[in-house]
């Protein structure tokens, strides 16, 4: 069961919902619907599933409907048609049609939210802002204080607890917003362009902190952004929206390598692929490499061969009859021990090696890189040719 699932939802702002829905069914554009009915199309035919523990980024230009559908998850926006399923206490509940009591329960326990303009209450101290959600659901003061202290420590604001929010910088204010959202221990976090109002350096820092936190707390995060860099950096899944409709949903690599239409292609044209692409996307798969018995041939001349065991794990390398040495690299950092690198003839790295790390290894050692999967089986080869093609995004060509 996905944590959040949109099933064919349409959102219309205005009085003539029926008229607008009819025009949506006819596939009319937002402008046509506005001039015909006076109602504004918020979203049309949106279907999307967000799995537990995933960061899903809704991405698009302003007015594309990304915030609109985000706000349907906790019914700050009403849905004209369709279902919004949220996993609440083990069952999937249709937020769009549940009763008020259930909706409040979901808002208090399951879904919490971080706002673009922070949405902090300026007459309250940082401490009282963080405890706001707990206060609303009637948590006793002592327990509230304990939880608030814990969350303040988590975002590094312990020393600021008694300050008023307008005494804090923008970055700190948004940390208060994050702490407030974490305080209710909700499983699903909605983030509506939380870092857009911050300057780039602070934004970058908070993105890193969020990723760091996510590694520990494993929440389901639905994140709205108009910044593709941010989307690619944070999102396990990215949904690109235009005019109230999702035009493409997939992983960062999918979107970068296989844009669904010109709109997406235009979006990703100027993106730096180094941080996004991984070995899986650029490598020549093991199945596509020529084989000679139990060995895989790496070069065109057929002089470099890698022996694999019956499970498919590389065990030895043969350089034109001479036995070489295989060295294992740290896939995350793209680093390898210098002595090891000099002595060896081929590098083994995890298959999700980032392209940037691959280039780093390549520049350092000038050795071919073998990518292996979680079980150590040979997955593919990543050498100069693969890297260049990845950079040029000409994988199909």
């Amino acid at each position: 069961m996905p944590a959040v699932e949109f099933r064919n939802i349409d959102i219309v702002f205005g009085n003539d919902q029926k008229g607008a829905l009819k025009l949506i069914d006819e596939g009319r554009s937002r402008e046509e619907i506005l001039s015909a009915t006076g109602s504004v199309l918020g979203a049309a035919g949106v279907s999307l599933a967000v799995e537990r523990g995933e960061i899903c980024v809704l991405m698009g230009l302003s007015g594309s409907g990304k915030s609109t559908i985000l706000r349907a998850i906790n019914r700050l926006n009403e849905v004209a048609r369709g279902e919004v399923l949220v996993e609440h206490k083990g069952t999937a509940i249709d937020v769009a049609h549940c009763n008020e009591a259930t909706l409040r329960d979901i808002r208090m326990h399951t879904v919490s939210m971080v706002f673009q303009q922070f949405g902090l209450l300026p007459w309250r101290t940082v401490r009282d802002n963080v405890g706001f959600g707990l206060e609303l659901r009637g948590t006793p003061a002592a327990e509230r204080a304990r939880i608030v202290d814990e969350k303040l420590a988590m975002v590094g604001l312990t020393n600021w607890a008694e300050k008023y929010t307008n005494e804090l910088s923008g970055g700190m204010q948004q940390r208060v917003g994050l702490a407030r959202a974490f305080a209710t221990d909700a499983e699903i976090l909605l983030m509506d362009e939380p870092f857009s109002a911050l300057d780039p350096l602070i934004r970058d820092k908070l993105q890193d902190e969020l990723l760091d936190l996510q590694r520990r707390i494993h929440k389901t995060i639905v994140f709205v952004s108009h910044d593709l860099d941010e989307a690619l950096k944070l999102g396990n899944k990215i949904a690109i929206m235009e005019g109230g409709r999702i035009v493409q949903a997939g992983t960062a690599e999918d979107i970068l390598l296989r844009p669904a239409n010109d709109y997406v292609a235009e979006f990703v044209k100027h993106m730096n692929p180094l941080n996004v692409l991984r070995g899986t996307a650029v490598m020549r798969p093991a199945a596509g490499l020529p084989r000679e018995g139990d060995a895989v041939v790496l070069d065109k001349a057929g002089r470099v061969k890698v022996k694999v065991d019956p499970e498919g794990r590389p065990i030895a390398i043969d350089l034109d009859g001479r036995a070489g040495l295989l060295a294992v690299a740290d896939g995350e950092a793209g680093a390898i021990d210098d002595k090891l690198a000099i002595a060896s003839d081929c590098i083994i790295a995890p298959v999700d090696l980032r392209l940037k790390a691959a280039i780093e290894l390549k520049r350092h050692t000038d050795l071919p890189i073998l990518l292996v999967d979680d079980l150590g089986r040979l997955a593919g080869l990543c050498d100069d040719d693969e890297i260049y093609r990845g950079l040029l995004r000409r994988l199909e060509g």
């Binding site: 706000r71 906790n74 700050l76 409040r104 329960d105 979901i106 808002r107 208090m108 879904v111 919490s112 939210m113 706002f115 673009q116 303009q117 922070f118 949405g119 902090l120 209450l121 007459w123 309250r124 706001f132 959600g133 206060e135 609303l136 659901r137 008694e162 300050k163 008023y164 307008n166 005494e167 407030r180 209710t184 909605l190």
Partner: protein, 283 residues
């Protein structure tokens, strides 16, 4: 030439008179009850204010001003101003006026703030009451003085009612303004964390609107003060009385002194009711 127009006069005035007659014949008990409660309220306040020795009360006022505002200048000013009023011989009248103003403001806040909140939540209601509020502030006071006099008799109560009619639009308007100017983001934040409408009102809307509502209360106090002379015409005690008497006997000295006492009271109330420094500086 236009006899056809004037021959058949629409009896608007008569209708209203009949309406008031109807109220007096059938609703006399209700109006007597209101009169009793409000009269008791004003009488009680006045009695307390006059029971305390003037010098002690002046000292208490100064102390309260010091505790709230921590300003030597203001405290000294209040001390001097109230001593001057006592010296001129208007202490009793000033306390009677103060009691009338306090009662009028209380009634205005108790009635006006909920109306303002309700109007902020229902745009149609505000559209409906806006012309009434305009009417209450523009219609000459003497006009509604007559029916209130008929309904409540002579004394402090018709004065209070007229004062309330004149000054209640201020707290209503400013409460409406304060509540309806709550930023959408704060509204959404409250809702997103599961606030009920009541929680939203008390934890988000009212705290945000408080400075504006307080401005409305201060304005209400000032408007009430400006009504003391009118209230005196229907028999309310206070600083209005010497002003009216001075006017009738062309007594320049008395008129000036009583007028000065009103101004002094107005300035003192205004300064004391100004909001203290922003709370964020307290820590």
């Amino acid at each position: 030439m236009y006899d056809w127009l004037t021959d058949h006069k629409i009896p608007l005035g008569l209708w209203l008179r009949d309406f008031v007659d109807l109220l007096t014949t059938h609703g006399q008990n209700v109006f007597d009850f209101i009169s009793l409660v409000l009269g008791g309220l004003i009488g009680g306040f006045t009695a307390v204010l006059l029971w305390v020795p003037p010098l002690l009360l002046i000292a208490l006022f100064a102390l309260a001003a010091w505790l709230v505002h921590r300003s030597i200048g203001l405290t000294v000013f209040i001390l001097a101003a109230l001593l001057l009023v006592a010296n001129l011989g208007y202490w009793e009248a000033t306390m009677e006026t103060l009691s009338l103003v306090i009662c009028a403001t209380l009634v205005c806040v108790i009635v006006g703030v909920p109306i303002g909140i309700a109007a902020a939540h229902r745009p149609w209601l505000y559209t409906a009451i806006r012309p009434i509020l305009d009417l209450m502030q523009t219609i000459p006071t003497f006009v509604y003085l007559i029916p209130t006099l008929v309904l409540f008799g002579l004394g402090a109560v018709p004065g209070l009612i007229s004062t309330v009619i004149f000054s209640i639009p201020a707290p209503i308007r400013l409460t409406h303004l304060g509540i309806s100017s709550v930023p959408p983001a704060l509204h959404e934040a409250g809702k997103a964390f599961g606030a009920t409408p009541t929680q939203l009102l008390f934890k988000v809307e009212l705290p945000h609107a408080l400075p504006t509502i307080m401005a409305g209360v201060t304005q209400c106090i000032m408007l009430s003060l400006s009504m003391v002379v009118i209230a005196a015409l229907v028999g309310a005690d206070g600083l209005g009385k010497p002003v009216v008497r001075a006017l009738n006997s062309v007594n320049i000295a008395m008129g000036f002194e009583a007028g000065l006492a009103i101004v002094v009271l107005a300035i003192v109330l205004d300064r004391v009711c100004k909001r203290p420094e922003r709370r964020s500086r307290k820590n």
